[in-house]
Amino acid sequence: MAELNSYTPVSVLPSQSLTEDLSQLSKYQVIVLTGMSLSDQLAISEYCHKNGIYLVIADTFGLFGYIFTDFGKGFAIADPTGENPVSGIVAGIDEEGLVSALDETRHGLEDGDYVTFTEVQGMEGLNECEPRKITTKGPYTFSIGDVPGL
């Protein structure tokens, strides 16, 4: 099997079964299981989840199949949608943090989106600021919350 793809090292685990000594799994960051009994899967899953090892289980049965994934608690996805960030031109920001988009342009944002600013005049503290969570107030305005001292 090692000859199938020379870029993938293939080795055989020395022990008779994966589950008789679960600690042999500790050196891996990701484990993919296939063709294992449910009880073995459960034992390995419990060990992996406790020890921060990513787990993928996949099997096919004729025309049907499944995939199970467990990447542990607190798994951060850096880019959930793969979309480029939207940008727009700001007409003004009032002292209560209400941002107005240029004239009749819709900002296209939703509640919970994060924004930052560049080339703002008069409230320069916002330029390159840490992303701020917004709430939309209308199609042309949104709020960035309080802007004390800016």
Binding site: L38, L42, C48, F75, I77, P80
Partner: protein, 75 residues
């Protein structure tokens, strides 16, 4: 902005699975598969790793019995 999600181990997900619907015309199919695959695992457990024989009424009936039990269990 990064999105943080918490995964559950297999044991928890088996009881209350978070199923991904890939075909919205057959939205109940993933739940059926969840039950069916548990039934297949139960069958292999009782038959020394062997999967049910194809076109075999007896094996099919046994898998169906396990499937019903798994479905009840999941309620």
């Amino acid at each position: 902005m990064p999105k943080v999600i918490n995964f559950q181990p297999l044991e928890d997900q088996l009881k209350k699975p978070e199923l991904l619907t890939s075909d919205f015309a057959k939205f109940d199919r993933p739940a059926q598969l969840h039950v069916g695959i548990q039934a297949l695992h139960e069958f292999t457990n009782c038959h020394n790793g062997q999967l049910p024989r194809t076109h075999n009424e007896e094996d099919a009936a046994e898998v169906f019995k396990y499937a019903q039990a798994a479905a009840e269990h999941g309620k």
